[in-house]
């Protein structure tokens, strides 16, 4: 066992004195912020030093997206975030995960925070939720009342800002959906398999300007699983092992309004870290398996993951054939746009497709050569970013 090298250290602590009858209440985010402030003060480190976050659950988030809520509230970017759910062992588990992440270079300074402080009484009574989202969720309070609900509007605003800064046409976005549909036609598991062309995309109804129906994922039901094992056991497995040789993560916000930039996305830091760790060049990638909740997401990922220059994504997709027969194979399973988005399993489809391609089992859509795959996952409203680089032995 290689184990920890003892190169990650505890350098600060903070604690609220336990009280039997609390004399005040905190929204969850506020208590996390106060403990973060006190612990950093004890450590003599600055707010900007923090780039990792290990926490318990967050009532204010309605049980989802705790890292996104917390990075946004605390104003930090986190390269390794985890909600640790190990009961009484959560504190120790959080510190172990922080040490692992730091020794691997995923992050450098991690906050590990747990608390059980009581929240104020919800003025609307009843449980922790109100009609739209959790009470105390900044999105519920400062986005939803304006109709900023769901995901479509957020990616539409990103697309509009990108077009404003760099120029991007409807046809360029549509090209992504068209090429991915060609891929889906060669995938018996895909939910949409009928070929489409650019006009079909542009003639589909606009849902939120500028995004058309065929640029938006279809929610589906499904599931996916992946087995990861050691090199020793990998050699005994049935198929060619796909080694995970690089990974990078970045979370900066939850609500798109507080995304530090709509056009220099948090994708870049995740992808750069993954490529640097793997020591792989962009030109070595045989398949780009990119999260595609919307066409615009793919364009921004191509750009910020470094496959083309800033502002060049529109031209890039026009100039390249993105199908399994093409010069830049992208989302050969059809992407979620055509394969279907089965909740979080939708994101995992980018990994299952990568492994099928790496092991020569992708059927009609099999690439002639596939040894190195770049996988990217995107969560929330361009919020949580994770890049992986897989290499077949």
């Amino acid at each position: 066992m290689r184990g920890l090298r003892g190169e990650a250290a505890v350098v600060g602590v903070a604690e609220f004195a336990p009280v039997r009858r609390p004399d005040r209440t905190w929204m969850g985010l506020e208590a996390y912020a106060e403990l973060a402030r006190l612990a950093l003060e004890d450590a003599g480190l600055a707010h900007d030093d923090v780039d990792g976050l290990m926490t318990g659950h967050l009532a204010d988030s309605g049980g989802l997206f705790a890292p996104g809520h917390l990075t946004e509230y605390l104003g930090i970017g986190s390269h390794f975030s985890e909600v640790v759910d190990l009961g009484g062992a959560t504190g120790a588990g959080a510190v172990l995960r922080a040490a692992m992440a730091i020794e691997l270079g995923l992050c450098e300074t991690a906050l590990c925070i747990v608390h059980t402080l009581p929240r104020p009484k919800n003025p609307k009574g009843g449980g922790p939720t109100f009609r739209m989202g959790a009470w105390g969720s900044p999105m519920g309070e400062f986005d939803y009342p304006f109709g900023a609900i769901g995901q479509n509007y957020a990616y539409a605003m990103i697309a509009n800002r990108y077009a404003y800064e760099y120029g991007l046409t409807d046809r360029q976005r549509a090209k992504v959906a068209v090429d991915q549909r060609t891929n889906a036609a060669a995938n018996p598991k895909a939910v949409f398999r009928d070929p489409i062309d650019i006009d079909d995309v542009l003639n589909s109804p606009v849902i939120v300007d500028p995004l058309h129906l065929l640029e938006i994922v279809m929610p589906c039901f499904g599931g996916a699983a992946v087995v990861v094992t050691s090199k020793e056991k990998a050699r005994r497995a049935k198929h060619r092992p796909a080694y995970i040789i690089g990974g990078g993560e970045n979370t900066t916000h939850l609500s798109v309004t507080y995304d530090p930039s709509f056009t220099e996305t948090p994708i870049r830091a995740a992808a750069d870290r993954a490529f640097a760790m793997a020591g792989v060049k962009r030109s070595e990638v045989d398949l780009a398996s990119l999260y595609d909740c919307y066409t615009i997401t793919v364009l921004l990922t191509l750009e910020d993951a470094g496959f083309c220059g800033k502002g060049e994504a529109g031209k890039f997709v026009e100039e390249h054939d993105l199908t399994y027969r093409g010069d830049f194979p992208l989302n050969t399973h059809g992407g979620q746009l055509s394969f279907g988005q089965a909740g979080m399993a939708g994101g995992m489809s980018h990994i299952t497709e990568a492994y099928l391609q790496l092991t020569g089992r992708a059927g009609e859509r099999q690439l002639r050569r596939c040894d190195t795959v770049f996988v990217h996952g995107n969560g929330g409203l361009m919020s949580e970013q994770v890049s992986l680089i897989l290499r077949g032995e």
């Binding site: 919800n122 105390g136 900044p138 986005d143 109709g147 900023a148 609900i149 800002r161 300007d209 609500s255």
Partner: protein, 139 residues
């Protein structure tokens, strides 16, 4: 009754920390926070997102802003907004710096342009809740 939208819900439910912002909105004042290091920010928090200071004060924003981005919802983003479509969802950049989510009103959706100058208008949706929207600046 709301002036700029058909339905009442969804409404914000203030927390003890955010309450002063909504009190301000009721008085048609747009309040943001400033920490002792001079950082101004929005949405309301217990700690400054740039330095984690908890020594904060409320300051009144000018209500002037620039449109950072927007979308026109052609289909309702939730059933509550069915009667409102098409409507403009916006991210505005206040002259003081922070961004806000809002809606643009008193403007033809086709005439909306990123970078346009805006000013706040208040909509008394109920006796308790007033929402800040933005419209094109009138000089």
């Amino acid at each position: 009754m709301p002036k700029y939208r058909m339905g009442i819900e969804p409404l914000p439910v203030p927390t003890p920390v955010t309450q002063p912002f909504w009190e301000g909105a009721r008085q048609h004042r747009l309040l943001i926070q400033r920490c002792d290091a001079g950082h101004v920010f929005f949405y309301p928090r217990s700690h400054c997102p740039r330095c984690l200071s908890n020594r904060l004060e409320w300051v009144e924003a000018s209500g002037k802003a620039t449109l950072y981005s927007y979308t026109v919802a052609r289909r309702p983003t939730s059933p509550d907004f069915e009667a409102d479509v098409p409507f403009v969802i916006a991210v505005v950049e206040l002259d003081e710096g922070p961004r806000m989510t809002s809606r643009l009103v008193e403007v033809d959706p086709e005439a909306v342009r990123i970078g346009m100058r805006l000013e706040v208008v208040f909509d008394d949706v109920t006796g308790e809740v007033t929402l800040p929207y933005f419209r094109p600046a009138r000089g």
